[in-house]
Amino acid sequence: MTAAALPGFPRPILRRRELGLLLAAAAALVLGNLSLGLTRTGILTLADPAGLLIYLAALVSVHFALVTAGRRVDEVLLPTVGLLGGIGLLLAERLPQDLVVQQVGPAVLGLASLQLVWLVLALVIAAVVAITVRSDRWLRLYKYTWAASGLGLLALTFVLGSDVNGTRLTLDLGPVSGQPSELLKVILVVFFAAYLAENRVLLADARVHLVGRLTVPPAPYLLPAGLMLALALGIVVIQRDLGAALLFYAVFLCLFYLATGSKVDVALGIGLFLVGFVILALVFPHVRDRVATWLDPWADPLGTGFQTIQALHAFARGGLLGTGLGAGLPTIGGQLPIPAVHTDFPLAALGEELGMAGVLGCYLVVVARGMRIAAAAADDVRALLCAGLALVIGVQAAIIAAGNLKLIPLTGITLPFISYGGSSLLVNGLIVGLLLAFSDRGPVPPGEPRRGRRVRGGA
């Protein structure tokens, strides 16, 4: 009995590669869970069998949902993202549960339980989007509407939002709260993809002279995108969300390059960014402080530099192979050494306990798959859209990793799929869902040579 036997339902398509990779990821997660259990109790036992089981069941369910839906979508993304999410869940299980506590109805949930809830929800979103989204018309046709609503949401946060850690990022509407800047990054990608695809020939060819032989696209064609970017940047900068600002700008430059192929424009964009950054540093003391802390965290080892220094020490303690899950991150008087480790410094925790931060490779896989999907896309809008979505994940991971490693000033954005945080996980689930949906290679072409006629639905 298969669904294909029923009229009106798609024929299931086996996804062997995805299943194999999922099994490998699951094996790794089981091993990690065992390792954590062993470190904790001294006997070979799973640290959190229930959580692990629920999560793996959710992953496998998504897999079978995709199989049943019969869509020919990418088979590598889900296992990769599943592994990252699982590692994040392990980390949440390993950290003190009272880092985040929320009352949900009668139950009081700690860090790992909450992370599991968000992860499962994110997987549901990914699956639903991957299966139901067939066209991107609804995205591209209403690009200005999307953009306006995104900015509106952000502005609303600014007015009504509540301050967390000195930055106003959280919108609190009764029972629902979230960080709209997470959603805004998807909306911006949609807008930029649609806009740049529409105008890319003009942007590349209708040049005006700036100075001498240096040419730039004419202002009228740049204006809508520039204005949008400026608004988004302006709001997040005022909200002190510098990481989001850097992310928006970097993704915009990447998409601009993809659309026009103009390296000169990208170079100009980077120059403009540096100028803007210097101006920001001159205007805002908190930006200046960030830079000072980045250049020499040891100048104030117990104050502004504390977090950074502790993270570097954590990397150092880990070394090549790591201390093993649960064996690192010593607590001092019950306190973890790195403040905000579960949101801003998960990579330092992973670096300590799992060694040379190998998880970074997983993000590169996500980017690579996204870029493949983009290269194979049917038209420019979709190509740019897919590239942009993949870049949002890849660039965001790179920004926070580089901040953790003191390669650039630290900005408080999340490590996708691993950091604790509902908004971040749900939006990343949405991104994965969109990438999967847009990777659809269409139904199996008819007329494929078949060996005889198969009997379906039993004899």
């Binding site: 890319r200 020490h313 192979l321 001092i332 040379m356 590169l364 049917a378 038209d379 190509a383 740019l384």
Partner: protein, 502 residues
């Protein structure tokens, strides 16, 4: 069903750009991996052994620190557990506060306790391979024991002899650099700081004491040396060839009563009452501590020669040692003459240990040890070995800081220093340093500080002169003449050490 996009109008393919952008991102991730490698491999060791490392701090609250032992196996520091089961340190004697330091949950750590925190906590000293293996071993609950070269009895004696005075004593074996005693007074209550019950009060008392006991004078104190510095001038003069043991200066006898005029400044002496108009050679000038002879020797050696010898001895940089040392200086370094001297007056004054010369007691002990060791400067060390709880011994390295002067020149200086202690006129100053049945070589110093206060009292020397087993430097702040305070103090320590030797 309908695939309208396929084969649609595409001005330029995006594929090539997508590939290029992917490559850029791959490079970025490569950079991130390199960054991770920098912290996780390249900097892993120094960061994870830092006393401020959370791992080290956390270990300190659960792991029992290894004991610290003296050269004879006496326990200098051990650990007890408080009511909560967390260990804290107990030190054998307050005299140990300077070299050992303390470790406290509230105030971190200092001294050897800080320098070897990771070893004492059982976390350090491993190469990457054994570190990797350590992941499969159960957690350490006890750190390595640390053997030091100190002699508890000698350390106690040194502090007891310094008494209520501020000052420092450094005694070491000139053949190996092993530090036998390193005293700094006043001492402080390290056990009190380590004990959680008394930590705050004991630390406040040490911090607020006007005698600054938290300053390890033996390695961090910078003093005007006075005449003990003449041994450095002798090393510079002899090794540069500017002087020989037979060198005399014709203008010296005549200048004794009025002072030697150098560029309008008079270098004065006090010994003409008993040497009269005698023409002094190197041995006699050292015996009676003739400022004028040494000023002339310094001028003949020149700023460059003085500077080179001082640098060979370790001036101008921290001394390689288990603990952080201050640098000694010959000049302030800003002068126009070679070696950084401002003028000949400064050079002449520096030659007998005034001018802008500042030295640490450890540096002067090394000067004596270099002469005692035939011209090769030993590298000082306090820690000789670590012993793991399972009994594995890891010896700390020992070595030298290189040859400073020839064995012949060292022998010549030994003769002069012996005469300064044992000679008929030398005894006028230095008789206190004598040890019955042993020939002692030494030199006193009386460091004029300007103003009205008493001078610092100095002595450096070694014994037995013919086959030295101990070299020493003593400074007593405002202790008066070198012969009055420092020399007898050194004599007692030399006697105690040599009597205890089998």
């Amino acid at each position: 069903m309908t695939l309208q996009g396929i084969g649609g109008r595409r001005e330029r393919p995006l594929g090539a750009r997508v590939a290029r952008l992917s490559l850029v991102l791959a490079l970025v991730y490569g950079g991130l991996t390199l960054g991770a490698g920098y912290w996780q491999v390249f900097r892993a060791d120094d960061l994870s052994r830092d006393p401020a490392d959370a791992g080290v701090i956390a270990a300190a609250r659960s792991v029992v620190r290894g004991r610290v032992l003296d050269r004879d196996g006496h326990i200098l520091a051990t650990s007890r557990r408080d009511a909560a089961g967390e260990p804290y340190r107990v030190y054998a004697d307050a005299s140990l506060s300077a070299p050992l330091g303390y470790t406290s949950r509230l105030y971190g750590s200092a001294g050897l306790e800080a320098a070897y925190a990771s070893e004492l906590l059982g976390a350090g000293g491993d190469d990457p391979a054994s570190r990797a293996l350590a992941k499969f071993r159960p957690r350490v609950s006890r750190g390595d024991d640390m053997r030091t070269s100190l002699s508890l009895s000698l350390q106690r004696l040194a502090v007891q002899l310094l008494g209520t005075d501020r000052g420092a004593v450094v005694a070491l074996d000139p053949r190996t650099g092993d530090v036998l005693a390193m005293a700094s007074t006043p001492t402080y209550d390290a056990s009190g700081i380590a004990n959680p019950a008394t930590s705050r009060a004991a630390f406040a008392a040490a911090r607020d004491d006007p005698g600054q006991p938290l300053l390890d004078r033996a390695i961090q104190g910078r003093y005007v040396p006075g005449s003990v510095f003449k041994i450095v001038t002798a090393i510079a003069g002899l090794s540069s060839g500017a002087i020989t043991p037979a060198t005399t200066f014709p203008q010296q006898p005549g200048a004794e009563s009025t002072g030697l005029l150098v560029d309008g400044f008079r270098v004065r002496d006090g010994h003409h009452l008993f040497t009269g108009s005698e023409l002094l050679d190197f041995n006699r000038a050292t015996e009676v501590s003739c400022n004028i002879w040494y000023a002339l020797a310094g001028l003949r050696t020149g700023g460059t020669g003085m500077d080179e010898a001082a640098r060979r001895l370790g001036f101008g940089a921290p001394i390689p040692f288990d603990l952080a040392t201050a640098s000694s200086q010959l000049t302030n370094g800003g002068g126009r003459l070679p070696g950084g001297f401002a003028d000949d007056v400064e050079l002449a004054n520096a030659a007998y240990g005034q001018g802008e010369v500042l030295v640490t007691p450890l540096q002067m002990a090394l000067v004596a040890a270099t002469v005692a060791n035939g011209g090769v400067e030993p590298r000082p060390r306090l820690v000789t070995a670590f012993v793991s709880p399972s009994g594995v011994v890891r010896d700390a390295s020992s070595g030298t800081l290189g040859r400073v002067l020839s064995a012949g020149d060292a022998a010549a200086i030994t003769v002069a220093m012996t005469q300064a202690v044992e000679g008929a006129d030398g005894q006028r100053f230095t008789s206190g340093a004598q040890v019955a049945g042993v020939t002692v070589a030494g030199k006193t110093g009386t460091a004029q500080l300007g103003g009205t206060g008493e001078p610092h009292s100095w002595f450096i020397g070694f014994a037995p002169a013919e086959a030295p087993t101990i070299a020493i430097a003593v400074v007593v702040e405002q202790g008066g003449h070198g012969g009055a305070r420092a020399a007898p103090l050194a004599g007692e320590i030399l006697a105690a050490f040599l009597a205890a030797k089998p």
